[in-house]
Chain length 184, copies 2
């Protein structure tokens, strides 16, 4: 069966459940793929080039920037991170759905570099529930949690900039909702 | 003398000196104006409608959203904030330069609603100097400062998304640099 390939950007505040939603989509849908990022940071043990990341030199990365070969990129703590355009385009041409799970600030860039992308913003049911979820992880200090909540408020303030808003209240419903937006 | 009107977006991290640069531009250049925001929050004492803000009801604001009459907007802590398009367009038609000083997340929206805007990102000379400046204000707790610094790092990571990057090292140079970008 032939199907139309497409690029889907999934974004939203930290702790909202983006990762869980994306993992579920990938495991249930063999035609959905996660895009692979490029980075100039050193590979960690057990990370494989071309699977976990494309590991590039700064010179290679900067050449990709200059040639507009990235869907989005950022320089964070001295290292470049970004999404190479070519592999994504190839998968889309093969009728695959490619998912890009990124930060809100990065997601804006995709609007320009790939205007036909479907851009989905995942929202928490409320700030109180987001706070509970972040605390429930048990991995972050109170300070880090407060930090994430402040950032989340600012990100939620502009969630309307995206094509779709999906509330992650009941996980199964949110996944079904995202699948629905992807198929449209 | 006839001159070309234009919209200039000035953004950058908290504490970088956007406000100081904008104030200086306004006082030195009688043809440069600051855009006036609309909000649904209640006016504070001494705030004047049409000067400090356009004070609107939620219904009025939502009508502007639906009619795409805003250059950018956000809903923050239950109140709407945004920039009405019409007054800005009128000033530009009169050959005026209109400045919009906004948050990084909001600045992205202007790229879509007003593609010909000149978008300038103000950078600190370094994260250390930004930290010193935030501490020097003496208004924020350590927690708030840490929060702002974390946010600043993420914003700086995507500063390349803007048309120009101006480093606010020596204030006079930064102002001259911004004036230069505006005139181009």
């Amino acid at each position: 069966m032939n199907q139309q390939g497409k690029l889907v950007v999934i974004t939203g505040p930290s702790g909202v459940g983006k990762g869980t939603i994306v993992k579920s989509l990938l495991s249930k849908n063999p035609h959905i793929f996660l895009s692979i990022s490029a980075t100039t940071r050193l590979p960690r043990e057990c990370e494989i080039n071309g699977k976990d990341y494309y590991f590039l030199s700064r010179l290679q990365f900067e050449e990709m920037i200059n040639k507009s070969q990235l869907l989005e990129w950022a320089e964070y703590a001295g290292n470049y991170y970004g999404t190479p355009k070519q592999p994504v385009l190839e998968q889309i041409e093969q009728g695959k759905i490619v998912i890009l799970e990124i930060e809100v600030l990065g997601a804006n860039q995709v609007k320009e570099s790939f205007p036909s992308a479907t851009r989905i913003f995942i929202l928490p049911p409320s700030m109180e529930i987001l706070e509970q979820r972040l605390k429930g992880r048990g991995t972050d200090t109170d300070e880090v949690i407060l930090n994430r909540l402040t950032k989340a408020k600012e990100e939620l303030a502009v969630s309307h900039q995206f094509d779709y808003q999906v509330i992650n209240d009941i996980l199964e419903n949110a996944i079904a909702d995202v699948e629905d937006k992807i198929k449209n």
